[in-house]
Structures are given as structure tokens and as C-alpha cells.
Amino acid sequence: DDTPETPGGRVFAPPAVRRLARELGVDIESVSGSGPSGRITEGDIRSKADGASAD
């Protein structure tokens, strides 16, 4: 089971973005958001996923 655990606390990202994070195996708590006040966007998740697969 490679889908990351869902965070215990608040996550400031829309539902569609949170689901995408799980789909791409990105730990959303390790993502810093580029949206207003640090909201996590779809782009943040995708670049994290790209970065991870590039590693």
C-alpha cells in the first residue's frame, strides 16, 4: 500500500488536490503551497511528484 497516510491536522488544499496527492503518492504534508497564504495547488503536487520521480 503505497498511498500516503492522510494528515491528522488541517491541510490547506482543495479536495481535488488532496486526492491527486494520494494518486501520485505525494505526502501532502511535505509540500509547501504556492497559493494564497500558502494554500497547496495542483501545480505544487505535480511538481513535487515530478521532482520525486526525477530523484
Partner: protein
């Protein structure tokens, strides 16, 4: 598909067709899984048959009667007659329409429906006993199971629901007469909804509650508004008392109660409604045959994928514990179905709203100010009282307020407490805001239709920013 010659098999076996189970079944079938739904009683479960829906139907009718009896100042006068048996028939019609709808939707989505009571034979097999004695049973093998067996009203000593003057919520929602005198044991949300309803329909209502206020879990200034209104409807509250027994008298019954110190009181009544909570239906499932574990209160423990300790067996809804709400059950049902279908679903919801359909209604979501501080946020709070709302004034319902809680440095919306007209509907906007990671400024900048109650949400957000228009800013 036939497995061997005695047992049939299915991809997903779901036990219980309440809002947890039937929603899981439809979603599982939509995902292309062979899905079997076992229900021993009525489609729709507690919620549609003896919970959410019937109570809200009664509340509509009771509100209408109460409202029109107090509208002389608006130029409308009437002295409405209440026919409880007719009300119950109407309610039954609404329930039938919804439950037959659920059955049709299951069939249309290719869910296999099975009538009977399921128990676990082992961790991949249930036995389903059909109808009464001697009606036979069958075994069904499953790859995945979802337990959605819900909950039942807790019984307290000396108050057996089998006795005619003792009402469970189910009995109250099947009433054919309005009791002249009604004693209600328990001032939680079910007790308060039904107390208010029967008071509006004409009962003299007395409430006995062990704790020292109504609606435990809500902030004081929220529950106070509901209690005050209930008192103005003539409901008499007796806090710090536990119901200890009842006996028949010449005209009705007498209910006795006791304080912690042993002080006794007694109350005349025609019926006594016991509404002290609900316990999980997990004891009749022979869970031990499947190795599924429960906590010490009988709730099945699950993870954020709704899985029990046995990976391929899920549990959703009331049987899996708090929050024991229909929409939480449905969400869990959807997650269970999607997880089984191999999708990246999880119970990652940031906020599950809750509503109480008292007068006025309560709608809450997310964190209170105190909880926000406890969670390490720096809360800022904005409020808008409904007495400053043009829409509220035009409906004559001005009790209550919208309170919105945000994190000061980031502006993120963290929660809301709404008490007032349509609070159950208004909470939806704030819930979406929380899920989206929206800020106070986002809500404040969004144009809200005039005149609506929803404007109060915007005003509360503006108040949190220190620039409300229709209230003085703190």
C-alpha cells in the same frame, strides 16, 4: 457468480442499507464491482425510516402550526388544528417515497439486493438468514465486506421500550396522538428536536437531563439560544437529574428521577420519551468469526480508509463510531467503495458539518475559537447577529448569530458556529470554504445575494477583518 454449489459469491458484500450501506453499494456498483447489499428490515436504515427524515417531517408540520399561531402581528391569524394520525400518515408517505427510491436506485445501479439478517461465518463468508424462523438461509462468499449495521437507541434501566407508555424516538415518530403531557429523558439533539416538536404540537413537555445544560458539546452561547426558545415554548428543564423509573397511575403515568445526591422528583405524564443516545449494532454480527475487533463500547475501529483490523473488511457509519451522522456515514460509504475499487480515496475531509433541527437550528463545522487555539492557531473571530440581518427580520426569525473562526496570520477559515434560521443550510458555504482552504477575505469578497441569510456569513467574515458594514466592529 456461483462458488461451489451451496454458496454464492460477490466482490463486495455490504451489510445494512442505511445511508452508510446503500450509498456504499451504489458507488461500488458504479465502479464496476459485483455488489450485494443485505438488509434485514427497511431500505434507508434508521435515517430514512425512523431518524432524520421522519423527525424533519414532524418538525416542518409543527413549525407551521406554531408559526401561524403567532403571526397575528404579521396580519395572518389562524388557530390551526393538529391531526397527529394524519401527520404520521403524511410522514409515512414521504418515507415510503424515499425508501422505495433507494431500492430503485440500487437496482438501477445493478446492486444485488438481498433481504435477510447477515452474520459472519468466517472472514470471507456471511450467512444470511431470511425472514422468520424456518425461512431458510444462505451463505455468501465475499472478497470485500462493508459493515454498515448502524445503531439502536440505548435502553436505560426500568424503561423498557416494549412498554406502551415508554417511547423510543422510533415510537415518538409513529405517534398517532399528541400526548397532553410528555416527559423527555435526555436533552441531546434527538431529545431537543422532539421536545420542541411536541411542545409546538401542544404537549406539556418536561425534560429530565443528567448534565447541567442542553446539547452537550455546543458552546454555551449557542445552546443557550436554543434552551431559551424551548423555555418560551413552555418546556420545563430539570438538569442534574437521572430518570429512575415510572409507574402507571389512574390517569397516565408518573416518572421519577433522582439527583446524584439521591434527591427524588416525580413528574406526571402520558408518555415518557427516552432519548439518551445510541449504541452500535455490532453484537449480533458474530464478528469474532471474522476476527473483526471493536472498542469497549462496541464500535468497530477503522483507519482513514475505513478498513477494520481485517484489511478487506470495512466498517462505516454509526457502527464505526463518531460522528454518528447520516452524511458522515454516506461519505464513509463512498470512501469504502472507492478504496475497494482501488482508488486513492480516504477519509481526508477537513470538516464534517453537523446540524441540529431545533428552533432555531444549529449548524456547526470545523473548530471553535477555543479548539482553534488548542490546535496551535491564532484564532480571530467574526460575528453577525441575525437581528441585524434584513432577511432574518423579514422572516420574523432573528434569534442567533453566525460566528466564523479563522487563523489570524494566514486568514484561513477554520470553523463556524451558526445558530439561527436555516443554520443547517448556511453551514454548507463555510464547509466548502474550509475544504478549499479559503480565507476570510475570500468569503468577505464574494458577493452574496440580498436579502438572504447567507449575507450573514459574509458579514461575519467582514467582522473578523474589522470592517463589517452591518455590525459594529470590535
Amino acid at each position: 457468480m456461483v462458488v461451489g454449489d451451496i454458496a454464492t459469491g460477490t466482490d463486495v458484500l455490504i451489510i445494512g442499507a442505511g445511508p452508510g450501506g446503500y450509498v456504499a453499494a451504489i458507488r461500488a456498483a458504479q465502479k464496476g464491482l459485483d455488489t450485494t447489499l443485505v438488509e434485514r428490515d427497511s431500505y434507508g436504515g434508521t435515517c430514512l425510516n425512523v431518524g432524520c427524515i421522519p423527525s424533519k417531517a414532524f418538525i416542518t408540520a409543527a413549525d407551521l402550526a406554531d408559526e401561524v399561531s403567532n403571526a397575528e402581528h404579521m396580519g395572518i391569524s389562524a388557530d390551526p388544528a393538529v391531526e397527529m394520525a394524519t401527520m404520521t400518515e403524511w410522514k409515512d408517505g414521504v418515507v415510503d417515497q424515499l425508501t422505495s427510491g433507494v431500492e430503485k436506485l440500487c437496482k438501477a445501479n445493478q446492486v444485488n439486493l438481498l433481504k435477510g439478517t447477515a452474520t459472519f461465518a468466517d472472514e470471507n463468508k456471511v450467512r444470511v438468514a431470511h425472514g422468520g424462523e424456518g425461512q431458510g438461509s444462505e451463505s455468501i462468499e465475499f472478497k470485500h465486506a462493508i459493515i454498515a449495521t448502524g445503531s439502536r437507541p440505548i435502553q436505560i434501566p426500568n424503561f423498557a421500550y416494549a412498554d406502551e407508555p415508554v417511547w423510543s424516538s422510533t415510537d415518538a415518530l409513529a405517534a398517532t396522538e399528541v400526548p397532553d403531557k410528555l416527559v423527555v429523558v435526555g436533552a441531546g439533539y434527538i431529545g431537543m428536536e422532539l421536545s420542541t416538536t411536541f411542545a409546538k404540537l401542544g404537549s406539556d413537555v418536561t425534560v429530565i437531563e443528567m448534565l447541567d445544560d442542553v446539547l452537550p458539546g455546543y458552546e454555551d452561547d449557542v445552546s443557550r439560544i436554543v434552551r431559551k426558545r424551548a423555555e418560551s415554548l413552555g418546556i420545563e428543564f430539570n438538569f442534574g437529574e437521572g430518570a429512575s423509573g415510572w409507574e402507571e397511575t389512574d390517569d397516565g403515568i408518573v416518572v421519577t428521577s433522582e439527583t446524584e445526591d439521591g434527591e427524588e422528583s416525580s413528574y406526571e405524564a402520558d408518555k415518557v420519551l427516552v432519548a439518551v443516545g445510541r449504541s452500535p449494532v455490532s453484537d449480533t454480527l458474530e464478528l469474532e468469526n471474522a476476527g473483526v475487533e471493536t472498542d469497549d463500547r462496541g464500535f468497530i475501529t477503522t483507519d482513514d480508509r475505513t478498513r477494520t483490523n481485517v484489511d478487506h473488511i470495512h466498517a462505516v457509519g454509526d457502527v464505526a463510531g463518531e460522528p454518528m451522522l447520516a452524511h458522515a456515514a454516506s461519505k464513509e460509504g463512498i470512501v469504502a467503495a472507492e478504496v475497494i475499487a482501488g482508488e486513492p480515496a480516504a477519509m481526508d475531509v477537513q470538516a464534517i458539518p453537523a446540524a441540529v433541527f431545533t428552533d432555531p437550528e444549529i449548524g456547526t463545522v470545523g473548530l471553535t475559537e477555543a479548539e482553534a487555539a488548542d490546535n496551535g492557531f491564532e484564532p480571530v473571530v467574526g460575528e453577525m447577529p441575525f437581528r441585524a440581518s434584513g432577511r432574518a427580520l423579514t422572516t420574523g426569525h432573528t434569534d442567533g448569530f453566525v460566528r466564523i473562526v479563522a487563523d489570524e496570520p494566514t486568514g484561513f477559515v477554520l470553523g463556524a458556529q451558526i445558530v439561527g434560521p436555516e443554520a443547517s443550510e448556511l453551514i454548507a458555504e463555510v464547509t466548502l470554504a474550509i475544504e478549499l482552504g479559503a480565507t476570510i477575505e475570500d468569503i468577505a469578497s464574494t458577493v452574496h445575494t440580498h436579502p438572504t441569510l447567507a449575507e450573514a456569513v459574509m458579514e461575519a467574515a467582514e467582522n473578523a477583518q474589522g470592517q463589517a458594514i452591518h455590525t459594529l466592529n470590535r
